[in-house]
Symmetry: D3
């Protein structure tokens, strides 16, 4: 039985060596990233059985993407297609010039994914399904497919986890709000960044208050709120309980994928039977490890995360 199934897009991200810029770089380092694939990698790195479902063109680039995820131990279920592209993105990594990001995501193969493309049995058999807001925001087809995924999971008692990832949707706040409204009633575990809560849901007062508001509105069992600044504690709400877990201090080498590493760590904890507070701790420790690694995904082992979590690092 699969622990975690994720469905989404992975982008080939090309970065100049540190300290150079896109304008003058003669070489680019290639990494594969995406909210759902990053979460799957984190979960597999922590020793669980994670799968990623997607649609890719049958080209060397498509194979490049899938090989990268397999390398991290993620099982992959991919529909190969002759139409559509692999999304690419040129991005500076690390430091104050991170603003440059030339994304090239039009006509990606993923945008035409229908429920028939996906092995729904894998969703039914999984303990948890994870999707981020980036996936349904890619196309109306994908939005409908996401609705079906959540419905199928719901019927099969597969836990449904959803991360708003508003920054990755490319949508205006009102449009994003509509999208979330169509989906969040079907979600068990909602993860949302403080910034998303403010931008999309106008919840800019207290983050705990915001969490309660969201939990009530969409009737989610659990709400997790990540924070703008690393130093601030991550918040978890379940029933009437509120948990606050502070960050671990590590050197920041690459901010890419740190949020997703948290999500992967948190879901892994829950899958192993941790309570919400323990799972939040596993999440922030996984995120702390990711910060020290260049690329979009966490690399290493559960022991590395434990070393940070147990203060041995």
């Amino acid at each position: 039985m699969t622990d975690l199934v994720t469905v989404g897009e992975a982008t080939l991200r090309l970065s100049p060596p540190r300290g150079e810029r896109i304008e003058t770089a003669g070489t680019f380092d290639a990494h594969v990233g995406g909210p759902e694939s990053n979460v799957a990698v984190a979960t597999a790195t922590l020793g669980l059985d994670a799968a990623w479902l997607s649609k890719l063109p049958d080209t060397a680039l498509g194979r490049r993407v899938i090989g990268d995820l397999r390398r991290h131990g993620v099982r992959t279920g991919v529909v190969w297609t002759d139409t559509g592209r692999v999304s690419t993105s040129f991005v500076d990594r690390g430091g104050p010039t991170d603003s440059t990001d030339v994304s090239d995501r039009e006509d990606a193969a993923i945008t035409t994914t229908t429920p028939d493309d996906l092995p729904m049995g894998a969703v039914r058999d999984a303990k948890t399904l994870f999707v981020s807001g980036a996936t349904p925001a890619r196309s109306e087809t994908l939005l409908e497919t996401t609705e079906t995924l959540l419905d199928v999971a719901g019927e099969a008692d597969t836990t449904r986890a959803f991360d708003t990832r508003y920054d990755a949707t490319g949508l205006a706040p009102a449009t994003a709000r509509e999208l979330y409204d169509r989906l969040l009633d079907r979600v068990d575990v909602l993860i949302i960044d403080e910034a998303d809560a403010q931008a999309v849901f106008d919840l800019d007062s207290d983050v705990v208050q915001a969490g309660h508001s969201l939990r009530t509105r969409y009737d989610c069992a659990t709400v997790v709120i990540t924070r703008r600044r690393w130093e601030q504690p991550t918040i978890g709400l379940q029933g009437e309980e509120i948990y606050e877990v502070p960050a671990f201090e590590t050197a920041l080498r690459d901010p890419a994928g740190v949020h997703d590493a948290f999500v992967g760590g948190f879901l892994s904890g829950r899958l192993r039977g941790d309570d919400v507070k323990e799972a939040l701790t596993e999440g922030v420790a996984t995120a702390a490890l990711k910060r020290t690694i260049v690329g979009d995904t966490v690399v290493g082992s559960r022991a590395d995360v434990a070393a940070i979590r147990d203060g041995r690092n």
Copy 2:
């Protein structure tokens, strides 16, 4: 006064280090290439005044492209736009696995270029205008723009040079034939590869015969035929004269852009007042230098070409 004006698209070409493949490469070398930009670089490298006109998105990638050409001494006239992409291509370089080439050219900024986007004065003031078949094949808009360019050049007594580059059009033979039929009557110097003559014009017998046939059909002053295999002599026809110039032997490090280097060398010779045979020799020597260099364009100086041409290498 500009010696050569070219109009076309330049692609960011990303290649794995030699001996690796796209599927597993962790880094990609970046080079900028395109028929017209390659020809402009060769001409500038040989010491003439060359310009490249195009349309690019106002992003770091757009600046990456233009900076690369400027570095080689090409003057650039670019319309910056907020829509459209920089074309990219993932390509293996050198050796028998060259077949892999994942191109990504949809929705490129260049495809919407109208005559109003281009500084027609620069075309009128140039001694020679160069366009390849790759440019008009990109969109109906660009085909019409190419017609206008050739007309403007014709009125201004600017020599009109055209390279079929059928392999870069992505068109079916019949469609390409129609495209060439709309343009070639307006051309003074026609450059065509032996393979194009066969595929598009069914001229698969003798190449000299093929050249005469094309010269007559489109009433071009000069026809140049490049060959499938490096060892075969390049053919030039002018009036009733036929010239055959054999290749120079050099090590092949990267086949990309060798044909374009020939064109740049040939046009440079003509611009300096060489007769057709001398210009063909300049062309094959420039191509021979390019073969030894990794990337899409020839790098060095007129002295390097002369060293090959005069057998000192």
Copy 3:
């Protein structure tokens, strides 16, 4: 159902950049190689379902090895252990200084592998089992385990393929002969290099004669003889039929793993239902592709092999 199951060791091979030597290299490129893992990668690259079974230490190096194979699409069944090492080898790649190879294989985790460590069900369920002589030569334990593997496969009607790979055994000819004598009666498909036939079996006359002799002695359904020199045809014997398949010409960038790529290609052909001659052709085309790639394994797709096989390259 798995198409191919292989059991063996994979070594982390560290190579100076081309043209440098171990004595002065400041960096080393890392590749993972081994007869059985190379064959599994080739088979997976050709689109079949291939698995590799082994024993590895639970360290970052062990994860490095398994991640590399997974990247190529090989499924892995690994027993993690706290004792024993990952074998390493420092090796020059390409050209006349290839002789330098500092191997470091003592006390590798693999040497203690018993049948209980391996999922025998996977062997029973596979269509073909592949082992090379390098595996049983590692330790008496592994020799006995190999006997058990072949017996289990025999009982389950899993085709048993064996490659002598005498060069990888590190044994004296007489010792190797004894080892092969203990195993080859249980083998259906025997692959042997011309040099092995001479060194171990004193069969230095005609290679076809040598093949017949081996086929008779060990009662193998099929015998394949690879050759010392690339230009010579590979030989296949089945029943009274003799097949000779010439090599495809490609540039040699790295000789490592070329023989194993042939084996993977040949077995893939057989698994798809090719007759022996077709399968030999698939093998030499796969080997020809490998020659152009730096590293121990073939990278790409079945289309790349087909391009070489069908002369389109």
Copy 4:
């Protein structure tokens, strides 16, 4: 009409990869730097029309230098010569071992530059002329040429900007003082570092006081004083007005060229019509961007500078 004309030397600077030292480095990264070329690059990066005039040997190294500047969009006016060298410098970048700098600047081609070598029309047509103390300090010939340049600019109402850059002169304080005394009366905009003011002009009390003193002595319209430490505000004096502009906080990846980036930003602001305070802000924002980039020059666009200036970074 050119916005900014600069005249000076550019050095090929070779640096070990970060964390290695000259003694053991097997490769060196190459960057082109010089006070005047760095200022020209910053100005061009900010979207203005900047030119650099110099004298270079007609070698591959000379072409290396000019190609680098053209890549950044700087127009170049270079006299090619058969005598003299390209200056080189081996330099560690970043961190506490920056002290190592093996310069090799004897017999550089630039040292023989006379007014006849330079296109004086370009100076007359420019809005601003910029030279640093490094240029006249290279030779008596260059000192006289600098006097002529300032005189020509003065007659043509071209604004004359001068940066003392005492650290780049290699002169003793008294000799430098004499050199400045010969030039500064002809300068409109004087830029001087706090350290120079102390070492050469004995103005070690209050920096504002020092600025007033220099403004009065040389009758400059504007005096700008940069600071020893990044945290301290940059000072500008114009008439009786005093402006203080604090630095923007960014990560320091390479201190090379940060001062020159400030100068380019400040002059760009003035050329666009900014008042002194706004131009100082543009300068410190440009310098803040440069700090994050490895190499001698700022890379990016005006939008990147604006992002820092407007606090969006």
Copy 5:
């Protein structure tokens, strides 16, 4: 006359580029390190005559090790052998993921070194002999050889310096304590880290107290205690005198070998006639330089150390 003779093992240490991890790195940087070789390099870098004695296999890897040390100016006296390995270690460098270190040191050639293998005349002629606890901990043979070395040095009035380096012994505290008890009576200068004093000798109260205790117990002329944290002062005890020398602040690029650089600097100071306090200062300045350099050894010159020591950096 040799200033310093050291006897020990050097390991080939392979590290992923900064920000990558062993699991995914495609290349590894190679450095040579070991307590005694690091000390010898630091001493040679500071301009003294240092030698390193060891036993290595006669392979390209063995030559790799010795060439690296010679490059730094260390004289080498090596017994070449056909048995035994070069120790290797895969290690992450810099930052919070430093915990990963896959060492592979079994059956190293060094472990069989007997007194007959070593040129004892070199020990007698040297001013100082240096060994760390890592050497005798490698094998009983090496422990006995170390005893002989210390005895020979004692008879020849060669100063005997010893660094506990408990972290490099791989021993349990009690076993290490026995080992130290067999050796330390023969030692003149004892260097010990605060952490070793606590773990092995249960001296966890005041470090000065710990130093006195050790000095009395083993009757050493000088005891030096290095600290857990960089900010804390290093302690020296000689007779009744106590010296405390604070660290110099430099950027930390690689913590490897910083302790050994201190030892080399301290011993160099003593060899030049510095008093204990001056020598401690030379030590912490040398360590401060090492921190900025990637690799196991300090690179540069005595002037670089002086620049840090004299506050000019």
Copy 6:
């Protein structure tokens, strides 16, 4: 007792990665080369005791040069100076564009070397002294110093070997001829390339004839003539005996230093007691190994050379 003492200059040679050119390279590989240092490295690599005497500036670059030679096992005797430079050279490596070489050798520290700078005892104690024509051609001072070196060696019965290396002198033929006339009477073993014999001595007929002519004119015991083309046999003359030794076929990766590797191999053979023919064979085998290695010097061991010589490679 030293086997071989050489006196000369070593240049820091900076090369773009293969396939790039100086004009566009972003990084340069650094190698140290020079006729005498290359010969010393080859001799040390072959297991003999070789020393290199020179004069270098006391900078990081000077240390870079000496560290490189020490790494190869060459002992160095260097006078450190505060004046003069390290010679540098920017050079393309491999293939048809090798012609580009931007040398920068003015004012090198070596040019002021007097006999007092050199440890003449080392020359007297050596079995063989080697100098090439490149050294005396650097300055009149060095010419006189070379005369003294040869005289001192002659008095001490040290064999005097001299390689004309006309290509490295930078002199006109007549000037070179005068220089050689001042030195060659004092030489025992003369090594000269066929091209030098023709250019300087007008000996363009038969190479054996040329050898006899030179041997007679300068009364050398042995004359060795290397050839323009690799395929041609190297010629040795001693007394009336003539020896011709054909080349070994290896892949050419870098032609730099191949001639010097031959000289080192030949002199090593003679030092070990080989007759002229055996020594010539050692020379061409050493040269054949060098061809496969990027850089100026041969790397490896005597076993690598033997593998080529004995046809095992």
